[in-house]
């Protein structure tokens, strides 16, 4: 490390000697600006990779909550969706989301390429980095959709909806909030959604809700009287791994949404993220313990996710003390929501609660806790500061209303397009596998193989060549000789 630093100093000195003009004030400012921009993009690149890692988190979470016979399909689903949404985002989605245009959709940036004019600027490396980072968010949002559909959906439905979602659904919402669309200026106030409690999480959950309404519950989920029955997932360790991967990925999700390294503000965002996630676990564990006298493993995981979803919108707008409150409430919400939702519809992983309701809570929480120090230009601070601080309460209430509008807008737009798409899928290729395929499991029926073959197919014996324990003599008498052949 020291050696490299020394080398850098030497090179810099040499450059200064060879090119005397390099030391002039104007070019130093210019170079600094360039390097700052590059440093910013290095941070976004790191964050982007972390958000891509969240695909693994969703994969393990959903596989863990599935039964053994539906383990492999979770892998195929994540890979295929990730791939399709990438192409859809590159070809169409990015242009609609970020391509300037009008209040509804962008109109430049389709089939994204170098030098292309996107919203008045030529595409370069920085634009490419930001476009890729946007894709990571879109892919997370899509992954959320499928949480409600486990163990019974037809694989073809993924393909169709992933195209619609990556090209239209997510980009429309992203454009409205982040691309200069409808929600970026409501009577002078912008919706404040730092990293996407509504744009990413609520969007995914509403898509999941639409799919679930047309799909119906898994066979055996409700008894003859309509009472819900538990269909335990096959691996709580996989659920735990998924939750931790998502948790880590979230530092890229929220932290990277600073898009810059200035004042190391990402540190504040990341601290808020961690505080809320921790409080989410605690809130959920306390809530489920009071309800059921057990610390439910899956609920602890849902609590972490809910805390993270809840802090996603406020992470860059609230002080550190507000983050644990937001997370704790999200953790409590998710438990009661899972219990209530389970009575009516079958959501195996709790996506509607953890991403939907916690997403709504997070979006509204900005309107309650947003600090005057951090709010966007033109926005009102949180209601808290209107009551306990010197900020204008009417402006705060106005901002809260704007946050509520974002929730309604997201729900309406995503639900309308999604329910139409899933209805179309249901009427054409079909949304749900036949009962016999569902009973056999999607691994063997949709993919021709089991996720865990040995669990279903007997394996041949194989001798390791080590001494066989059964060869041990029964006792040191004459009869032991007669027993030996038993082992052979």
């Amino acid at each position: 490390m020291k050696k490299k630093l020394g080398l850098a100093v030497l090179v810099t000195a040499l450059v200064a000697l060879v090119i005397p003009g390099a030391a002039s004030a104007a070019s130093v400012t210019e170079t600094l600006a360039e390097k700052t921009s590059e440093l910013n993009m290095v941070w976004v690149a790191v964050a982007c990779v972390l958000v891509f890692l969240m695909q693994a988190g969703f994969m393990f979470l959903e596989i863990g909550f599935s039964r053994q016979k539906n383990a492999g399909t979770g892998v195929a689903k994540i890979l295929v969706n990730f791939a399709i949404v990438t192409i859809a985002w590159w070809a169409i989605g990015y242009g609609i989301a970020e391509g300037g245009g009008n209040k509804i959709f962008g109109d430049t940036g389709f089939f994204f390429h170098f030098g292309q004019n996107v919203a008045g600027e030529a595409v370069n490396g920085e634009t490419a980095m930001l476009m890729l980072y946007g894709l990571a968010f879109c892919a997370v949002s899509l992954a959320i959709v499928w949480g409600t559909t486990l163990e019974r959906i037809k694989f073809g439905a993924y393909v169709v909806y992933a195209i619609v979602f990556g090209a239209i659904v997510y980009p429309l919402v992203a454009h409205a909030v982040w691309g200069g669309g409808l929600l970026s200026d409501i009577g002078g106030k912008p919706v404040m959604d730092f990293a996407g409690s509504s744009v990413v999480h609520l969007t995914g959950a509403v898509g999941a809700f639409a799919a679930l309404l047309l799909l119906g519950p898994r066979r055996g989920k409700y008894d003859a009287d309509g009472n819900p029955r538990a269909i335990p997932g096959h691996s709580m360790p996989l659920v735990g791994l998924g939750v931790i991967i998502l948790w880590i990925g979230w530092f890229g999700f929220n932290g990277g949404s600073t898009f810059e390294t200035s004042a190391s503000f990402f540190g504040e965002v990341m601290l808020n993220t961690q505080l809320a996630a921790a409080a989410g676990v605690i809130g959920a564990c306390i809530a489920i313990y009071i309800k059921g006298r057990t610390v439910d493993v899956g609920m602890a995981g849902n609590g972490a996710i809910a805390g993270l979803v809840g802090i996603t919108a406020p992470s860059g707008f609230v002080e550190y003390w507000a983050a644990p409150i937001i997370g704790l409430i999200a953790g409590v919400i998710v438990v009661f929501a899972v219990l209530a939702i389970d009575k009516k519809v079958d959501d195996p992983v709790g996506a509607l609660s953890a991403h939907g309701l916690a997403g709504i809570w997070g979006t509204l929480a900005v309107g309650i806790f947003a600090s005057p120090r951090l709010i966007s230009e033109g926005a009102g601070s949180g209601i808290w500061y209107g009551i306990f601080g010197d900020e204008s309460l009417s402006s705060a209430l106005g901002q809260f209303g704007v946050q509520g509008l974002a929730v309604l807008f997201t729900f309406a737009v995503v639900f309308a397009i999604s329910i139409a798409t899933f209805f179309g899928i249901k009427k054409t290729i079909g949304l749900r596998v036949p009962a016999d395929e569902e009973d056999a499991g999607l691994d063997i029926s949709s993919h021709g193989m089991y996720g865990y073959p040995e669990a279903f197919i007997p394996q041949p014996e194989y001798s390791t060549g080590l001494p066989e324990l059964t060869a041990r003599p029964v006792s040191q008498t004459a009869s032991s000789g007669q027993l030996a052949p038993e082992a052979g």
């Binding site: 819900p228 029955r229 538990a230 269909i231 335990p232 489920i288 309800k291 059921g292 057990t294 439910d296 899956g298 609920m299 438990v335 899972v338 219990l339 389970d342 709790g350 059964t470 041990r472 029964v474 006792s475 008498t477 009869s479 007669q482 027993l483 038993e486």
Partner: protein, 122 residues
């Protein structure tokens, strides 16, 4: 020939196996079984819903021996499988018509497991 068939707790199997081996009965089979009796099922809590599993996991132990050896096997099972609580299991003794060793094709008493006292009865 008799088959001693016992449904026992998982933890009882290893001591029974050890004693049977020491007494000269190395040949046995076990199967993971699920069943119900006087012992109630298990109520599992999962994400707020309950799941009642009405059968409990047990080990099914099968040993085929000479008529005269059946009691020794039963004694070994009783000694290790009894805790005195509901759910210790049951033993059934069934008559066996024939025994054939697949490797050699030989049948009858030859096939049954041998033990220290076996030569006398064979």
């Amino acid at each position: 020939m008799k088959k001693v068939e016992a449904f026992i707790r998982h933890e009882a199997f290893e001591p029974i196996r050890t004693e049977l081996l020491d007494k000269g009965f190395p040949s046995l089979s076990i199967t993971e079984a699920k069943g119900s009796g006087r012992q109630k099922g298990i109520v599992e809590h999962y994400r707020g819903s309950t799941l009642t599993v009405n059968v409990r996991p047990k080990v099914k132990l099968e040993v085929v021996v000479e008529d005269s050896d059946a009691q020794a096997v039963i004694d070994a099972i009783l000694r290790h499988a009894r805790t005195g609580e509901v759910g210790d299991g049951k033993i059934f003794v069934l008559p066996v018509e024939e025994a054939i060793r697949i490797r050699t094709g030989e049948s009858g008493h030859e096939v049954l497991q041998l033990h220290d006292g076996a030569e006398a009865s064979a």
